[in-house]
Structures are given as structure tokens and as C-alpha cells.
């Protein structure tokens, strides 16, 4: 029983969150998880699910999690790319569910990419070996 407009509004907000990502992609942030065979083998599924969970927990609007196929860098899997409107995409590599919480908190919420997890950082590390 909805007894007031306030209650109707609460239901609306909650239901809308769930449907928000059915709107066509565009303005929001897109988190793209590589989910080809090697990505899945390297553990991309728990990474993706962790993203979904964190985004739901923090009630973030306008963020969608999508999957993609082979990115072509199998040895760095699981790979996650974050697209923000009007910004360079950021590519995270060798992701784990633990790393996800930090990426969500620092990058998606506060707009500061976590450079230690990015591809550039990894490549530099390899080169210095």
C-alpha cells in the first residue's frame, strides 16, 4: 500500500536505479570488462561482479558495467577499461576483486585514476626488470 506521494517517490527512485542502465549509453561512466576466454580464465568474472556490487552499494547513478571480448593483451588479463565522457580512457590490468574497491572509490567516485593498476605502470615495471 502506498499511502503518500513520498512513498511513491521512494519506490520510484529505487526502481529507477535498477533501470537506469537501460537508457542508452552516453553521458555516464562505462566500465568495460574484458570477458573473452582468457579474461574469464584469468578471473574476470569475479572482477566484473565486484564492480556491479560496489556500484550498487554506493548507489552510483550513471555508471554502467559492460563486457567486451578480446582486447588483445592476454597476458595482462583481467583487463578493465574505464571510459569517462570527454576524457582519455583508463586501462586497468591484472585486476582482482580487491583492486576493484579502490578503483571504484578513487577513480569512479572521486575522479582520480589509480595509476599503479594501469597498463602504463605495468609496462614500465616490466621494462625495468
Amino acid at each position: 500500500m502506498i499511502k503518500s506521494i513520498q512513498e511513491l517517490e521512494q519506490i520510484r527512485k529505487k526502481a529507477l536505479e535498477e533501470l537506469e542502465f537501460r537508457k542508452q549509453q552516453g553521458e555516464g561512466i562505462r566500465v568495460v570488462v574484458g570477458m573473452a576466454t582468457c579474461g574469464i580464465a584469468a578471473g574476470a568474472r569475479p572482477v566484473m561482479l565486484k564492480f556491479v556490487e560496489e556500484i550498487q552499494k554506493r548507489n552510483l547513478q550513471n555508471v554502467t558495467v559492460v563486457q567486451t571480448g578480446c582486447i588483445g593483451l592476454c597476458k595482462y588479463e583481467p583487463i578493465v577499461e574505464v571510459y569517462e565522457p570527454n576524457k582519455e580512457k583508463v586501462t586497468y590490468v591484472k585486476m582482482t576483486p580487491e583492486k576493484v574497491s579502490r578503483v571504484v572509490a578513487e577513480h569512479i567516485v572521486n575522479g582520480k585514476p589509480v595509476y599503479e593498476y594501469t597498463i602504463g605502470y605495468e609496462e614500465a615495471k616490466e621494462a625495468n626488470k
Binding site: A15, L16, F21, A36, T37, V66, T68, G69
Partner: protein, 598 residues
């Protein structure tokens, strides 16, 4: 509602269901279960997306991948590739939605680009069986607004100012009708929704009920508040079981949520809705017949006035509107009358839903601003005529309407310009015809329908339309005379003037309209015994090309009417008197020597 990372929307509209979308839905549930994605991926059955010609349709979010012509055997691949691995199944994507490897947003696809969806706003977007999805997209917010912020007079004033006119055919100003019902004396009043929709080829109202039933329920409650009624009825055909089922579910959910019943949203407003099933007689869509039918009698029209707004159901003031008319109301309340009035033409505001069918590539359900031209609809939205054929005309308004010929293709479509062309908006059936359609035959088709559906109460309609049909049959079988054409026209006008209800008054329209624009076709049938479109069977001639015939005699052996004679090794001949035009000989001739001639 739990959060899912992916939503799979399977079209559950009439078109896609007949293409097997129910099996596709089940297959998704099964595959998703077997890949253990049940907690991540939600499968939803929606209403019609509009592009029925490309059905069955499946959309996967958040990517917005628009899959068309999906078969249940494709489901496994979509689940395994797209949902599990994130690889979009390109071969199933609607061809137009894929551009340079990027998925275009649906609004960018040609079919949707010129459309504007107000009445269909939620069709194909929400799960019609889940009231929370309707609420998510501002559902029941308009009802809340009128109950707490507006007086009934204000509501009526807004509907008047919006310029909304009835979408059931006549185009009567909706606000005015509401005002009449509100001002009529009496404590007991009714709100009725006309969901009879009997026009051949039309399925707009049914699709709204199937895809977004709550929008009609909400609007009826708003109407109840505006005119002072506690009880609504939806009159819907029993042959539309999906629409009836979705409506039942929606009404029950609305009751559960306290949006129907007593003390709606904590106010003292009370309103409830019941469904009444119609037996599927076209005349029962006529408002007085419809009310008689709800009262439990045989659905026969009675003269008006008194109009329903004064003396309707059980003699009480009754507001009766069409499904699509109602579906516009919540948006008008939320966005304001000025917004609505800014769409469309001078005297026809807003949009109109059409069921685009016939000889056009993208058949389906479309909604366009009033004033969109026939050309835009046929060429841009409809994607043109299949098979490189030439566009001939569109028929609008069903059995009460007429046609718009190719030469008037740039006419902006609204109530008044259609009437000026001698056709009607009607409820929104739009049948596209190409050069192979015979206009006399079309007129005959609609008249056959009228003769079948006439209730028989008044002689002009019962006897007159039958006489008209007989004349048309005479003409299409090659036995008509020029006097017949004159008599046909005379009869048409006198029936229009003397029939009791709208059915009979408009029944001659298809004949008058085709006579107006395609008189030469009638004359060709009469004078030359020829059907220019090659559609009238009786006037076709099956002929043997003497140069191609090798004289094998196969045709003669196969002819069931013994119409073919000849001597082996000499050209054979067909006796036109005996030939029944079955076409068997055309198929059998190994040398392709036999063909049809108009």
C-alpha cells in the same frame, strides 16, 4: 528489486509472439540458468518495440544491442557469446543499428528517428507486468499530482488547453468531453475505456494495453477524479487474451499498491476499474453499442443525442475515451498542456500511433507527430515499398476511411487534412498499397467487412451496403456497366445520409474515396473488362505465348477444367470461357510459355 548487470528484453507483443517470442523467452531462462547467470542477468518480456516486421526482437542492455529476427536456436549463442563473454552477436544485430562496428542508439535508427513516442513511451521499455517499472518512469506521478495539487476543474482545463482530440476515430476534443461529463448532473458517473479496436489491420490499442497497461489505468483514475466518478470499465475484446491478461495483472497490482480502491495515495479519492469482455463485433466499438453491451444486452447502437456524457451507462453520465487518448493524459499532466500543444499541427495536437501494414518494408507500430507526411511515413519510417514496386496509395481509417493516392503523398497527416481528402484518421490503421493492388478490390474488401459486421438494425446499412457489395462483385467479375458505377455512387450518398450509426454512415467511404481518385480503374473493369493492377482474378486471362509453346500438351493434361486444346507439336490454346484461372498450367509448362495477363 535486486540489481542485475544485464537486462534481456524480449518482445512479447502480438507480432513477435506470433513469431515465437514466447519460446525465445523460455529459452533465455533455460540457458541463463544453465550458464549460472541467473543472479546477474534478468530476462523481461515487454510490449511491442514497433519494428514488428523484423521480429522477434530482443534487446540486451546495457549495451543496447538490438537483435532482430531471433530464433530460439539463436538464444544459446547470445547467452554464451554476449552475456557470458561480452561479444555482441553481430550476425543477429538489426542491420541498421550497426554502423562502423559501433552500435547506434535506437533513436538513431531510421525507423525511430522521425518518430516521437508519447502514447507508446513505455512500450518495449518496461516490463508491463511489473508496476514498479512503470513507477520508475514517472508512473502514477500524474495521478499523485492531480490528487494533491489540482482541482478537478484545473485538470479539465489542462486537458482542454493541451488540444488533445480523441484517438478513437472521430477526433472530438477530449477536454470538452471531460467537461460535459463533469458538468452533467448526477452523483453516480462512469469512466469507460474503449479498447474494442475492430478495424482490420489495426493493433495500436491492443499494443498499448499489452505493453503499458498502467498508463491507461492511471489516466482513467485521473479522469475519474476530474469528472467525479468512482468506477471505470475497460471494454476489451475477448480475442485479445494477452491484453486482457496484462490488464488484469496491472489492475490487481494497482489495487495492491493502493493506486486503485479507497483512499488512493492517502487522499479520500476512491476509484476502481473492472474489465468487460466484448465478443468481437465491430459495431460494439461504437460508443452507444459498447455501453449497451456492457449493460449486458446485445450491442446495438442507439441514436445520439443523448450523448454518453449526459446519459450513458445505466442512464448515468459517462465519459468514454479510446485507449490511446487515455495513454496521452499522464504525460500531459506531467509536462503541461503547453508542451503537448507545441507538438503537431494547428488543429491536431500531439502525436498519432499508426499500425503500418501492407506493402511496405518496415511494417510495425509507429508514433509520429501530427503533420508528418505520408511520404515520410512510407519512405523514411517504412523504408519504402518492397520488391522495387511503385507506391500507389495508403488506406487510412479502416472501413470508415478512404485512401490517399501517391500524388498527394506530401499531405501532412492530421484530422482535418485527412477529412478534406475524403478519408479519416480513424483509429490508426494504415495500409500501404503498391501497383499490384486493385482499388476496386480494396473497396470490395472493406464493404465485405461492413456487410458482415452490420448489426442489421437499420435498413440503409443492412440492405444498402449489401447492394453496394453486389455491384462491386459485378464489376470485379467483369460484368459491370457504367450505370452500375452511377448507381454505386448514388447508393453511397444515400446510405451516408440515412444510416443510424457511424458504422453505416461511414461504410460507403472506401467506395467514394476510390471512385474519387481511381475512377479510371473502375472504368477499365467495366469498359475494357480489364483489371489494371492484375489483381481481380475473374478479369485475368491466362494465355499461351504461341512463339514459346512447343506443343508438348502437358498443360492440357493438367488442366482441371479441360480448357486447353491443341495438336501435338503445334501451339496450344486456352478457351477463356472454360478456364477457371487456377494457374496450374503456368506451373506445369516446362517452357514457361503460359502467363497471366491483366
Amino acid at each position: 528489486m535486486p540489481l542485475y548487470r544485464s537486462h534481456v528484453l524480449v518482445c512479447g507483443g502480438t507480432g513477435c509472439t506470433s513469431g515465437g517470442s514466447d519460446k525465445i523467452y523460455d529459452a533465455f531462462l533455460k540457458e541463463i540458468e544453465s550458464f549460472n547467470l541467473k543472479d546477474e542477468v534478468q530476462v523481461i518480456c515487454t510490449g511491442c518495440f514497433g519494428l514488428c516486421a523484423e521480429g522477434p526482437i530482443v534487446i540486451v542492455y546495457p549495451e543496447g544491442a538490438f537483435y532482430s529476427r531471433v530464433a530460439d536456436s539463436d538464444v544459446k549463442e547470445i547467452v554464451e557469446e554476449h552475456l557470458l563473454k561480452g561479444r555482441i552477436v553481430k550476425r543477429l544485430l538489426y542491420k541498421e543499428s550497426l554502423e562502423e562496428g559501433q552500435i547506434k542508439s535506437l533513436n538513431e535508427v531510421k525507423f525511430y528517428k522521425k518518430q516521437m513516442r508519447i502514447a507508446l513511451r513505455n512500450c518495449g521499455v518496461i516490463n508491463p507486468e511489473n508496476i514498479e517499472e512503470y513507477i520508475a518512469y514517472d508512473g502514477y506521478k500524474a495521478l499523485a499530482k492531480v490528487l494533491t495539487e489540482m482541482t478537478p476543474e484545473q485538470v479539465i482545463d489542462w486537458v482542454k488547453r493541451s488540444g488533445l482530440r480523441g484517438r478513437g476515430g472521430g477526433g472530438f476534443p477530449t477536454g470538452l468531453k471531460w467537461e460535459f461529463a463533469a458538468k452533467a448532473p448526477g452523483n453516480v458517473k462512469y469512466v469507460v475505456c474503449n479498447a474494442d479496436e475492430g478495424d482490420p489491420g489495426a493493433y495500436m490499442d491492443r499494443s498499448i494495453l499489452e505493453g503499458d497497461p498502467h498508463s491507461v489505468i492511471e489516466a482513467m483514475a485521473i479522469a475519474g477524479y476530474a469528472i467525479g466518478s468512482k468506477q471505470g470499465y475497460v471494454y476489451v475484446r475477448a480475442e485479445y487474451p494477452l491484453a486482457v491478461k496484462r490488464l488484469e495483472i496491472a489492475i490487481n497490482q494497482a489495487r495492491e499498491y493502493g493506486l486503485l480502491g479507497k483512499n488512493i495515495l492517502g487522499t479520500d479519492f476512491e476509484f476502481d476499474i473492472e474489465i468487460r469482455l466484448g465478443a468481437g463485433a465491430f459495431v460494439c466499438g461504437e460508443e452507444t453499442a459498447l455501453m449497451t453491451s456492457i449493460e449486458g444486452h446485445r450491442g446495438e447502437p442507439r441514436p445520439r443525442p443523448p450523448f454518453p456524457a449526459v446519459k450513458g451507462l445505466w442512464g448515468k453520465p459517462t465519459l468514454l475515451n479510446n485507449v490511446e487518448t487515455y495513454a496521452n493524459i499522464p504525460v500531459i499532466i506531467l509536462k503541461g498542456p503547453e508542451w503537448f500543444a507545441s507538438i503537431g499541427t494547428e488543429k491536431s495536437k500531439g502525436t498519432k500511433v499508426f499500425a503500418l501494414v501492407g506493402k511496405v518494408n518496415n511494417t510495425g507500430l509507429i508514433e509520429v507527430p501530427m503533420g508528418t507526411t505520408v511520404r515520410e511515413i512510407v519512405e523514411d519510417i517504412g523504408g519504402g515499398i518492397p520488391g522495387g514496386k511503385k507506391f500507389k496509395a495508403v488506406q487510412t481509417g479502416g472501413p470508415s476511411g478512404g485512401c490517399i493516392p501517391a500524388s498527394l503523398m506530401d499531405t501532412p497527416i492530421d484530422f482535418d487534412s485527412l477529412t478534406a481528402l475524403g478519408t479519416m484518421m480513424g483509429s490508426g490503421g494504415m495500409i500501404v498499397m503498391d501497383e499490384d493492388t486493385c482499388m476496386v478490390d480494396i473497396a470490395k474488401f472493406f464493404l465485405e467487412f461492413t456487410v458482415d459486421e452490420s448489426c442489421g438494425k437499420c435498413p440503409p446499412c443492412r440492405i444498402g451496403t449489401r447492394r453496394m457489395l453486389e455491384i462491386l462483385q459485378k464489376i470485379t467479375s467483369g460484368n459491370g456497366t457504367m450505370e452500375d458505377i452511377e448507381k454505386l455512387e448514388e447508393l453511397a450518398y444515400s446510405i451516408k445520409d440515412s444510416a443510424l450509426c457511424g458504422l453505416g454512415q461511414t461504410a460507403p467511404n472506401p467506395v467514394l474515396s476510390t471512385l474519387r481518385y481511381f475512377r479510371d480503374e473502375y472504368e477499365a473493369h467495366v469498359k475494357e473488362k480489364r483489371c489494371p493492377a492484375g489483381a481481380c482474378k475473374a478479369l485475368l486471362r491466362i494465355v499461351i505465348d504461341r512463339d514459346l509453346c512447343k506443343g508438348c500438351g502437358i498443360c492440357a493434361k493438367n488442366c482441371p477444367a479441360n480448357a486447353i486444346t491443341g495438336q501435338i507439336k503445334k501451339p496450344f490454346e486456352i478457351d477463356q470461357e472454360k478456364c477457371i484461372k487456377c494457374g496450374v498450367c503456368i506451373e506445369k509448362c516446362p517452357f514457361k510459355a503460359i502467363s497471366k495477363k491483366a
